[in-house]
């Protein structure tokens, strides 16, 4: 019996509000140095995508008075799935806001948005305009496009880390109401769930689309993007340093929690970004069991080589 991939398919975009006049600084970072492509621009926003993304955006930037995570967008299979989820979310006692096509974001079909128990806003949609691959679909060259070489040039949006005052409640909502799977979790000595990696579908770099960490509600911990392999990440780390970009400590490392090779660094607004490769290949079958980490093994979970815990790494970044 095949798995019914209904409901949410995958993470699609992150929408950030930045105190950035005409988005000059953020575009300087995300487009010119980080290496995302500008798909669209309107009076309020810039829409950026990764070079291996077919949909029109993975990152939406807009000018706001305070820096903030506005929402995270998820692609739902079809309109029926959108209606089904609307009902489930409302039954769970959470208010759902309906938005017409192209409202508030361009290139998107009708959508619903709501606040999860951790305080962050999600938006679900079934339809988004496609830009297609930069490389084209016919006998493509699967190499970083020439104009992006020398930048981070991420391939996809991989996952988003959030902080939550009650990680268990957030994990339950994502699992029970939105249908996410749990690939890994970290538990305290007394069995409390401290962190979870939630996913919907197995992808090239799989096992997490939302990573929940303990902390204040409503905040962003990091945004992760996919790269091909560790070598790629190490070379890009040099470009980022050359460009004066602040690398977060650990530096490049294997993160056993999620089984990625990762490099964390900060954009020019202090938002923590991650480039990662590898990851768990999760088979989303009914017998799948999560990997469980004990909090006492946190150093092994977060940075396998140096087995260190950097408390600053646990802070939210927006």
């Amino acid at each position: 019996m095949g798995l019914k991939h209904r409901g949410i398919l995958r993470i699609a975009y992150v929408r950030l509000g930045l105190n950035d006049n005409r988005l000059t600084q953020s575009l300087n970072f995300y487009r010119d140095r980080f290496g995302m492509l500008e798909s669209m621009r309107d009076s309020e926003r810039a829409y950026l995508r990764c070079w291996h993304e077919t949909f029109q955006y993975n990152l939406v930037l807009e000018q706001t008075a305070e820096n903030q995570l506005i929402e995270i967008g998820f692609h739902v299979r079809d309109e029926e799935g959108l209606d089904h989820l609307t009902n489930k979310i409302e039954v769970a006692g959470i208010q759902v806001e309906q938005s017409a096509a192209n409202e508030p974001l361009n290139g998107m079909g009708r959508s619903i948005s709501f606040t999860i128990p951790g305080g962050q806003r999600l938006r679900l949609f079934a339809d988004m305009a496609q830009s297609g691959y930069v490389t084209g679909f016919e006998s493509p060259d699967w190499v970083t496009p020439r104009e992006l070489r020398g930048t981070a040039a991420p391939m996809f949006l991989n996952h988003v880390g959030l902080t939550s005052a009650d990680p268990g409640a957030t994990i339950d909502f994502l699992s029970d109401v939105l249908g996410f799977g749990l690939s890994e979790k970290i538990v305290s000595e007394d069995g409390k769930r401290l962190s979870g990696l939630m996913f919907r579908m197995c992808r090239d770099v799989g096992g997490q689309e939302l990573a929940i960490f303990p902390g204040e509600d409503g905040h962003l911990h990091h945004i992760a993007f996919t790269k091909e392999d560790p070598n790629d990440i190490l070379v890009i780390g040099q470009y980022l340093r050359e460009d004066g970009i602040n690398i977060d400590s650990y530096g490049p490392t294997k993160q056993s929690y999620g089984n990625t090779f990762s490099l964390h660094f900060f954009d020019n607004f202090g938002i923590r970004l991650e480039l990662c490769c590898g990851g768990r290949n999760i088979d989303a079958h009914p017998e799948s069991e999560p990997v469980i980490w004990d909090e006492s093994e946190l150093s092994k979970a977060l940075s396998y080589y140096d087995a260190d815990v950097n408390p600053g790494f646990l802070d939210h970044s927006l």
Binding site: T163, D166, S188, K192, L194, S195, E295, L298, V309, L314
Partner: protein
């Protein structure tokens, strides 16, 4: 085998105390007590963990690099390397480098209502 009291001091930090067995390195006992001392080679060679014994005596679990135990000006042996030093009495030690505190529950302490640990 006995357990002795070790006190670590550093000009920028409040002193800390913990127990250390006579066959255990002070570096290891510090780690178990939640203090991360500067260290690299863990075999008495690099000098990262060098410190002065102010009060008491230590025993050497393995040979220590003379160069890293010497005062750079006088050439006299003034320092010990804590990765291969065990206490032979209660000791008070003045660290060259500050230590870091290792939290035993770095994630739980971020939940509301939990004490930092």
């Amino acid at each position: 085998m006995r357990t002795f009291q070790v006190e670590l001091r550093h000009s920028e930090q409040s002193a800390v105390q913990f127990g250390c067995r006579s066959d255990q390195s002070i570096l290891d006992a510090a780690y178990c007590a939640g203090y991360l001392l500067a260290s690299t080679c863990l075999r008495g060679g690099c000098g990262a963990c060098r410190a002065k014994v102010i009060v008491g005596k230590i025993s050497e679990l393995a040979p220590m690099s003379n160069t890293h135990c010497q005062d750079p000006v006088s050439g006299k042996i003034t320092h010990r390397l804590l990765c291969v030093a065990a206490p032979a009495t209660d000791v008070i030690i003045e660290m060259d480098r500050p230590w870091r505190t290792r939290s035993k529950n770095p994630l739980s302490s971020r939940l509301p209502g939990r004490l930092p640990g």
